[in-house]
């Protein structure tokens, strides 16, 4: 059975279910749990659900310490950029301790943060910072694009014994979707094929999955069948599903909100160029964010982001129905 929920509520549902299931799960962050009648405080008490000062280094560092001591903390960070003031803890503490200790300890923390809020938030609250996290051995990175995955990936993140950066896309916050009732786990490292097709492979993550699907609908009207793949986690990254699709379609267009050299697209392009070159009938094309600080003004913001038009144009280019422009 399933029920309809907004993406953000699906995340909350997963945290709630996991806290009911396992009393070692903690949930804390800024501007939460400030009154007795908040549902999480009411359900789990102020030992396990706490408000913190605006102290990201301590919040994430405390999560690492609590995890070393046997707990499973979920840190509510609100915006991915707020992790930037605590990058030592994210990139050079949490993922290092297991290895440096020779496997004596584990650091099961979830860093929950929204990203990509290109809705007039200008230069410092809109980043798609996925590339910062995905290349760090020891870290896992989840990027749900649907309400069901938002729930299932959060549940898996909390149960995972490793530090997980869980990035929920702000523009998807209120997108509704069918969400399985009760326990719902989405495995890490297994891409979802959102749409099957034989002519071209499109890969998107988070918000760009829907941009790719929208483009695929329009391309279908032209008789072009696009396959749309959503990796769902970018570390681990399911390159096999992408390579198998490219083997079938011979063409690859990557859609990513991040700036090009900090994007998941560039990593996927490298993997496919190395391991799937023989399948390619045309060069890979990446439709990424332009290399700019996200501007405030609406038409300028739109200009630097990928959209359906850019995806459609890129597909026409790689299929030879129009010059390559991306």
């Amino acid at each position: 059975m399933a029920h309809e929920l907004p993406y953000i509520a699906a995340i909350v549902e997963a945290i709630q279910l996991e806290m009911e299931r396992d009393e070692s799960v903690l949930y804390f962050g800024q501007n939460m749990a400030t009154t007795e009648n908040e549902p999480f405080v009411d359900a789990f008490g102020k030992d396990r659900v706490r408000v913190t000062p605006i102290s990201e280094t301590a919040e994430i560092g405390i999560a690492v310490g609590a995890a070393l001591a046997g707990f499973r903390p979920v840190v509510e960070l609100y915006m991915a950029e707020f992790m930037l003031v605590a990058m030592d803890q994210v990139l050079n503490e949490a993922p290092r301790f297991r290895g440096m200790s020779g496997g004596q300890v584990k650091v099961p923390i979830v860093l929950k943060a929204g990203y990509g809020f290109t809705a007039g938030w200008a230069g410092q609250h809109t980043g798609t910072l996925t590339g910062l996290f995905m290349g760090v051995p020891g870290l896992k990175v989840a990027v749900p694009s649907t309400a069901a995955d938002a729930k299932g990936l959060m549940a898996t993140a909390i149960r995972d014994d490793n530090p997980v950066v869980y990035l929920h896309h702000y523009l998807l916050t209120l997108e509704h979707g069918e969400v399985p009732d009760g326990e719902h786990l989405v495995p890490f490292g297994e891409a979802a094929v959102r749409r099957e097709g034989s002519d071209v492979t499109l890969v998107g993550t988070g918000w760009t999955v829907d941009r790719a699907l929208g483009a695929a609908e329009r391309l279908a009207e032209e008789g072009i069948q696009a396959e749309v793949i959503d990796p769902r986690t970018i570390a681990p990254l399911d390159t096999r599903t992408i390579l198998e699709s490219v083997e079938k379609t011979g063409h690859l267009v990557l859609v990513d909100q991040a700036t090009r050299h900090a994007s998941v697209s560039t990593v996927i392009a490298g993997e496919v160029a190395e391991h799937g070159f023989g399948s390619l009938e045309a060069p890979i094309v990446q439709v990424t964010g332009l290399d700019a600080t996200i501007p405030y003004s609406e038409p300028l913001e739109a200009y630097v982001l990928p959209d359906e038009d850019k995806v459609v144009a890129a597909v026409r280019g790689v299929l030879g129905t129009a010059p390559v422009t991306a």
């Binding site: 560092g61 310490g65 050079n92 440096m100 896992k140």
Partner: protein, 346 residues
């Protein structure tokens, strides 16, 4: 000989235990240092020694009960020795060998011994302070009376991690004691050059006022003073009254670390910064006069706790123990190279 583990009154066996542990730490560190000369190339990277800190380390660790936990800095060899970690495994770790405490994956700066409540070591200044604070939150939730000791240096007290963590610890009344080891230098910089309190002539423990927690400055070269003050702070934390900041003043008797050099250049320990950089050998000589290890030996002998022969016997036993640790480390093979990938993910 046994650890006092928080007892009110120190018996003879406790005093001897403290001296024994101080001697073990000193001898271990001497052996690490000598390895650079006796076995060039065996120790790689950067190594930091605890000589001069023995009294503070042992006096602090002696207050812990069996279920308590602690976090340290990259200058981390002393604490596990006092806590009961096998020095053979520690030396093998510092030599990068298969039988190392962390299987050769961590080295000198990242010693970890979960079985003794030593939950992991960051090599980044100040980064371990929130880790200890988080473990203390865990202890508070668990509600079984565990306490966490958090060791860090005076330099770390200028990191944001310090301010953020102590604020939360005081706010949440966490069961933790912050032991700031002030050895007068942050790497090669003197404390008064980088600390506003010190520059104004104040003790660094006054930082505790900013967090409405008790702050106390002690002579970290006197293990009994350290024991008394840290024991009271641990009792306070265990009783639910929250954290304390202890500034333990001491003098680091070796340079910050071995020289930093690319491969091919033999590594060694340079002279202390007071001599090498500040041209103040008299400062260093004065500090040597206050060396806590011979000072405590002299005190125990003078007080009739130990005879000179008994003290010599302890020194001989410790030399033998740490020679064995060197031999063990050298005899241990390198790990299989594929184990580099064994513990990336849990």
């Amino acid at each position: 000989m046994s650890s006092p583990q928080g007892v009110e009154k120190l018996e003879r066996e406790h005093l001897v235990w403290i001296y024994h542990q101080m001697s073990r730490i000193r001898e271990f560190e001497e052996r690490v240092k000598r390895t650079f000369e006796d076995h060039p190339g065996v120790i790689r990277g950067h190594t930091h020694l605890a000589d001069g800190a023995e009294a503070s380390i042992v006096g602090s660790i002696a207050t812990l009960g069996p279920d308590d936990q602690f976090f340290t800095t990259y200058r981390c060899h002393g604490y596990p020795i006092a806590r009961g970690t096998d020095p053979n495994a520690m030396m093998a770790e510092i030599y990068g060998r298969r039988d190392g405490l962390c299987k050769g994956l961590g080295g000198s700066m990242h010693l970890t011994d979960v079985s003794n409540g030593f939950l992991g070591t960051s090599g980044i200044v100040g980064a371990g302070i929130p880790h200890a604070t988080g473990a203390a939150w865990g202890a508070q939730i668990r509600g079984k009376g565990q306490v966490v000791l958090c060791f860090f240096g005076d330099g770390a007290s200028k990191q944001g991690a310090f301010f953020e963590s102590l604020n939360i610890a005081s706010l949440w009344k966490l069961p933790i004691v912050y032991v700031m080891e002030n050895n007068g230098y942050n790497v090669h910089t003197r404390t008064e050059q980088e600390d506003a309190n010190r520059a104004a002539g104040d003790d660094l423990s006054m930082k505790a006022k900013a967090f409405s927690m008790p702050g106390v400055t002690i002579d970290g070269r006197d293990p009994l003073e350290v024991y008394e003050i840290v024991r009271a702070a641990v009792a306070r934390a265990r009783g639910g009254d929250g954290p304390t900041l202890v500034e333990s003043q001491m003098y680091r008797l070796s340079a910050h670390g071995n020289i930093i050099a690319p491969p091919g250049v033999p590594l060694h320990f340079p002279e202390h910064e007071a001599i090498e950089k500040f041209g103040a050998p008299e400062e260093y000589e004065a500090a040597k006069q206050g060396d806590p290890v011979p000072a405590f030996r002299g005190r125990l002998v003078a007080d009739g706790v130990l005879t000179g022969e008994e003290a010599d016997a302890i020194a001989a036993e410790v030399r033998e123990e740490m020679q064995a640790a060197v031999d063990f480390g050298l005899a241990s093979p390198f790990p299989e190279v594929e184990t580099a990938l064994d513990h990336v993910y849990a």
